[in-house]
Every structure is written in structure tokens, then in C-alpha cells.
């Protein structure tokens, strides 16, 4: 038997905001829609930026790709701030218990010296690369046009900072908080020939002025390759070498990458499909950065996994690009 509480009903005079109604029709809108679409200023800007006097704030010409309407994008995860932090809070809760378990079990001690050394050489230096990814996504956030697109970059930027922090904690778990692993990882990042390609790549992306090109170079090309090399192939390799407990420490990155890829793919697809101009422009960037990335990442792929690793990851990237016809 069901019970029914009587409530006074008041007839609303409208279902949602007018800008939401113009875009989605006269019906109740979701919180994602109300908080994401058409809320950025679009015109009548008062002053030109001192730091870029040839453009306005929110200027669409900060990228060479052109959208008739940037607000046609959609994040398949439907993240606005509230849903974003709640999704990440769930992931971090699992991660926290993984890290606690790893520590309690003394997993670091159970790993061989060689495995620990390999993780410190091949994984921990990524904390620096993730800071670069944080800056690159923050760049795209601050120069984009529409909130529904921009907010994805902001969430991504904060995620990358979080990942850089988890990677640092992995170092501390492995060295018993002596911080030696972090010092060593930084030395690798700065001087080890295997890492110089990636560092050069990141420093180059930090100088790119077109925010959508930054997205291609960082989130599409580099992340697809790097996350495949490290969080799939290196994970497998280290497991074979007796380091299977590492899996607990990198679950966050693996889950995050799956989650983030949904947004990356959607953003890429919508933009590519808008016009031939976009397709050509993006194709050029992809070709350009893919070539650099393969050259720059190959030494790292080799020491982390082996000589077939780079080609395997390149396949993953090419398949992903093929899905959007690139």
C-alpha cells in the first residue's frame, strides 16, 4: 500500500530561465543546463585587455577553430561544479582507502628494490608533467568562450593537480616519507635522457597561444599516448615484475582517464564535425603534435615498458582519432 502526502501545489509561471528555454524549449531544465549554457558574457565588452589589446574578453578568435555557436557542446558527464566535486569525492574515497591499505600492508617493503626503483624512475617524475597539464588546461579554461566548454577545462586542470599530488604521495609511500624519491624523480625529470623529450614537449605546449591547439596537444595527443604507456602498459609490466600492488595506487588515474576521455572525445567530435575548416585545422595540429609526441615519448616508453610500447600506444591514439574521422 502506498501513502500519499498532500502538498499544496502552486502553478509556476515559467519552467526555466529564458536563455535555457530558447536553447532547449519551454520545459523544466536540468541543473546542468541551467548552470552551464549561455551564462558567459557575449557582447558589449567595455575595455580591451592590456595583455592582448587586439582582442576582447571572451574573444572567439583566440582559437583558429570556428564554431557558429560554442554552446552546442555538451559534456556527456554533465558536470557542473556540484556533480563534478561529488564524482571526484567518490573516487578519492576509494583512493584514500587504497593508499591506507597499501601502507598498512607494508606493500612498499614487499616490492623488490628493483621494482621500487623502476616506479620512481618511470612513474613518479610524471608529477611534473601533470603540473604542466594543469597549466595547459587552465590556459584553455581562461581563454575559451562558452562556460559549457570552459568548465570542462577547469575541472581537468584541477584533476591534474590532484593527480600530481597523488603521484607525489606514491613517491612518499615508496621512500617511507624520506622524500628521497621525489628528489630523485625531479633529477630524472630534469636530466635523464628518457624524460627530456616529454619535458620538452610540455614546455613547448606551455608556449602555444591557441587554446584549442593546447587541448589537442595536451589532452588529445599527449594524454592518450602517455596514459596508455604508463597506466596500461607500464602497469602490466610492473605487475609481471612483482609490483602488482602498484595497481592500488594508480586506480585513480585509470578511472579518471576513462571519465575524462568521454569529455575529451565529445569536445573533439563536436568541434571537428562543425566544418571542414575545423577538421583541416585540427588535423594539422594532430599531425604536428603526434609526430613530436612519438619522437619525444619513445625513450620513456622504451625504459618503462619496452621497444614495442610506443607503437602500441600510437595504435590506441590512431583508433581514437579515427572515431572522429581524423
Amino acid at each position: 500500500m502506498s501513502i500519499e502526502i498532500k502538498t499544496a501545489t502552486l502553478e509556476p509561471i515559467r519552467h526555466t530561465f529564458e536563455h535555457t528555454k530558447r536553447r532547449f524549449g519551454d520545459k523544466p531544465a536540468s541543473r546542468y543546463q541551467e548552470a552551464s549554457y549561455d551564462i558567459a558574457p557575449e557582447q558589449n565588452f567595455h575595455y580591451r585587455p592590456f595583455w592582448q589589446p587586439d582582442k576582447e574578453l571572451f574573444d572567439k578568435s583566440r582559437t583558429a577553430v570556428v564554431m557558429e555557436d560554442w554552446n552546442v557542446h555538451k559534456d556527456p558527464r554533465q558536470y557542473y561544479y556540484g556533480t563534478y566535486v561529488q564524482a571526484r569525492a567518490k573516487l578519492q574515497e576509494v583512493t584514500e582507502s587504497n593508499y591506507a591499505f597499501f601502507e598498512k600492508r607494508g606493500s612498499a617493503d614487499r616490492m623488490s628494490e628493483a621494482v621500487r626503483a623502476k616506479i620512481i624512475r618511470c612513474l613518479v617524475p610524471l608529477r611534473h608533467a601533470e603540473l604542466g597539464a594543469n597549466m595547459n588546461n587552465m590556459f584553455a579554461f581562461s581563454y575559451g568562450t562558452a562556460t559549457v566548454v570552459n568548465q570542462g577545462f577547469l575541472y581537468n586542470a584541477m584533476d591534474r593537480l590532484g593527480i600530481a599530488q597523488y603521484l607525489s604521495r606514491i613517491g612518499l609511500l615508496l621512500d617511507g616519507n624520506s622524500t628521497e624519491s621525489l628528489t630523485l624523480a625531479k633529477e630524472y625529470w630534469m636530466t635523464d635522457p628518457a624524460w627530456q623529450g616529454l619535458r620538452r614537449y610540455i614546455e613547448n605546449v606551455l608556449c602555444v597561444k591557441d587554446w584549442f591547439e593546447v587541448f589537442i596537444a595536451q589532452d588529445v595527443v599527449l594524454d592518450t599516448l602517455l596514459y596508455d604507456i604508463i597506466y596500461r602498459q607500464f602497469d602490466e609490466a610492473i605487475t609481471e615484475q612483482g609490483g602488482s600492488d602498484l595497481a592500488m595506487l594508480i586506480e585513480f588515474m585509470q578511472e579518471w582517464h576513462k571519465d575524462s576521455s568521454r569529455w575529451v572525445d565529445a569536445t573533439l567530435k563536436t568541434t571537428v564535425e562543425e566544418s571542414d575548416h575545423n577538421r583541416t585545422t585540427i588535423k594539422r595540429w594532430v599531425d604536428d603534435w603526434r609526430e613530436k609526441a612519438v619522437a619525444d615519448l619513445a625513450p620513456l616508453a622504451e625504459i618503462a615498458v619496452g621497444d614495442t610500447a610506443m607503437a602500441a600506444s600510437l595504435d590506441v591514439l590512431n583508433q581514437r582519432l579515427a572515431k572522429v574521422g581524423l
Binding site: 515559467r14 541551467e34 611534473h128 612518499l172
Partner: protein, 510 residues
Amino acid sequence: MSNRKINMKEKYRLLTRDLDWEYSYRDYKEIFPQEEFEGIKITDWSKWEDPFRLTMDAYWKYQAEKEKKLYAILDAFAQNNGQQNVTDARYVNAIKLFLTGISPGEHQAAMGFGHVGRQLGGVGARVACQMQAIDELRHVQTQIHAMSHYNKFFDGFQDFSHMHDRVWYLSVPKSFFDDARTAGPFEYMVAIGFSFEYVLTNLLFVPFMSGAAYNGDMATVTFGFSAQSDEARHMTLGLEIIKFLLEQHPDNVPIVQRWINKWFWRGTRMLALVAMMMDYMLPNKVMSWQEAWEVYFEEAGGSLFKDLARYGIEMPAYAKTAIAEKEHISHQAWSIFYNYGHAAAFHTWMPTEKEMDWLSEKYPNTFDKYYRPRFEKWREMEAAGERFYNPTLPMLCQTCQIPMGFTDMEDPTSTFYRQSEYDGERYNFCSDGCKDIFDHEPEKYVQAWLPVHQIYQGNCGGPSMEDVLGNYYKINLGVDNMDFHGSPDEERWNMWHNLESAENKLKRAS
């Protein structure tokens, strides 16, 4: 392996500062091209003191808990038609002003902190700014959600974003944030991080949220409580940026002082909107604007500037003028909006007799002498069916963009007026503060998109008021605008509460 203990400070350093590295494939200046052009000298970013130590895992956790609670209350508010429980439907106009005027500013702040969160060379400062960027996005989005339910039952919320880009009085906050965002990264930090978030937040954010608490607005006040700990973080960042800049190099002191002068005045002018909200739009008053100003600027700000004196920083220029204006500004601003009540997307009204008595008591030096007679006259006109609306278009101040209506504090009956010439054109100002800001950077302020000029130039939908207000601003004429008395808002409110409208009362009385 026995684990060494690492203290919080050291751990935070390892998890933020230590992530950075010295670039060698590209030049520092290529990566941070905006760090020098403002003349600010940074000698050592490592001297930056982290204003708070919050790693991302903790951030996600705390913020998710806050969001969960907030949205549970917003859901309950909507389910129970909480909009019926506000003190009186006039109150809702305060939050219409908030959603159309302030929330888009939160969005701008998110973008601005994102920009400096990329452009500053110090990783500690960048990370702190990034956290504020995402907090500010939180604020605009949760404000939209908190007011979404009001939008379904009251007029004037429905096109806040479209209006913010166009409507004459909304160009006051819009130009304020545009000004900060188009400045260099350090000026932005002094403008929004320090002057706005630290010095003035208790006069902006707090009055609206306290107003909500005093007037039964559970949705907005819950947002306010939820945002409090974010705001506390933002204040510590604002203070740190000032101390950092002043400690880095003595040459920074005069630059920072000029920015403080500018942004104090810019902020004070924008607060005229808050002043009128506090004194006129809240049926249940929190405190008078004058009282708020005395507590939060004169006392709290006073001791802040005493503290900064050791760096060679003085009270903002024109603080004296602002202090003198505290007894006038709310009355003058409300008069302007009452005059142009047909051109606003919220309702205006004359205070009741009881409210006028409150104003007399709170403003013994000014209200009865300068404002009450005018307001009583307007009330009589309304009673006679001739509610006063000013049919002309006002002249706007080139800097703050408020109609020229503020008076000379030496002679509160005459309008204050200044002019400057630049490149053969004359520009008008409401105050010495606004004129100074213009004179220092005329090439910037001549670019201002002044709503009245734009109407005259035919850029706002056409020549008639209907074209501008109805088509271009998208104000629903006769619904969103005009006096509260006789509005659909009032009618619905009376229906919900079985109240008789003022109009019917009058009819019955005669």
C-alpha cells in the same frame, strides 16, 4: 620500512611547490609573458606564503559534502514552495538584483582567477588562484540553482544573463569586472583578490546573505552559509597577495597604492547598489547601510590599513569622501532607481510610513532634511494615480557608469560633476575618484560601452523606449518593471496569502 612523519607545511610544499621546475627548453618569459608589463617587480616567488594548505583530495571531499547539504536544502525549499515564506514579495527584488548584477560577476571572477592561475610565475600563487577560480564557478552555479525556483514564481530573474550584457545599471558591475579582467594579472589580484574580496566583501556578500536570513529566504541564505568557508579562503589569499607584492620590492608600493585607491573607489561606487538594497529593499532590515559601513569599513578597514602602514601603504584616497557619503548614498541611489523604475528589471516602491520612520531614526542628519520631503511628495503623486517616472535618459559617469545623481558632500543639494578632456572629447564624472581613474588611463576608459550613449547611437534595438527596454533588454514591459504596487508579483503574492492588494484597499476606502 618505518615511516618518517612529515608535517603539514612540508607535505603541502612537496605536493605543490615542489612540482614546479626550472624551464630549459623554453624561456620563462615565453611561458609567463604577462608578468612584467605592469611594472611590478618579483624578485623571489619562493617567498610566497601559502594562504591555505588544501590539497585536491581534501578539496573534493569537503566541497562535495557542502554541495550535498546545499542541494538537499534547495530541493526541500522547492518541494515546499519556500518562496511563500519570505517576509514580503518586495524582498525578492533584492535577489533579482543579485542574480542579474552579482552572479555574473562571480562568473567573471572565475575566469579572472583562472587567468592569473595560469599567468603568475609562482606555483604557490597559481594553485591558490586556481582554487579560487573553481570556487567562483561554484558560486555562480549554486546561485543560479538557489534562485532557479524563484524564477518560476516571480518576474525579473528569467533573462539575467542576456540582461547583464545590456541593461544600463548592470553595466555598473559588468564594467567593474571587465576593468579588472582586462588589467594585468597583478592589478587583477589587487582589484578582486584584495580590494574586493578582502576589504569590501563584508559590505557586499554579507549584506545580501544576511538580508536573506532576515527575510525568510532559505535558499539564498543556505547558499551564503555554504559559501562562507570559501570566502574565508579567498580573504586570506587577498591579504597574502598584498603582503607579497609589498615585500618583494619597494618599487611596488606606489603601484599597489594607486591600485588600492582605484579599486576602493570603483568598489565603493558599485556598493551604492548594495546600500540601497539594505536600506530600501529589505522588508526586515539587518542594519542600516551607514552602520554596516562604520563596522566593516571604518573599523575593520581602518585597522587593516593601520597594519599595512608599515609597508608605506595609506588609507585609500577618497576614503573621506566615501565616509561622508555613507549618510546619503543609499537614499540617492534608491531615488535614481525609483525615477527610472520603468527601465529596471525589478520593482521599485516608496517606503511605507513605518519604513520612513526607521530611515529617519537611522539617518538623523540627512533623511528628514534631504530625502523625506521628496519621498513624501512621490508617495502623494502615486496615491493620486500619477506615480512619478523620469522620461529622460540620464547622463552616466564615464568611469563607474552610474547616472550622475550623487551630490556634493559639501552641499548635499547640488549634483557633483566633473569633466575631463581627452583627444578632443569631453567626458563626465560623478566624483573626483572616478575622474582620477579616467585621467590616469584615459585610453582605457574612453572605450567604455556606456548604455545611454549606445541607445543614442542606435545600437540598442531602436529609437523608442519599447525598442530598447522590450526588444533589446528583453524586459517584459508592465511585468518585470514599474512599481511593485500593481505588479503581477504583488498580485500572485496576495493570492497565495489571501491578501488584498493596495489598489483594492484604496478603491474600497474611497
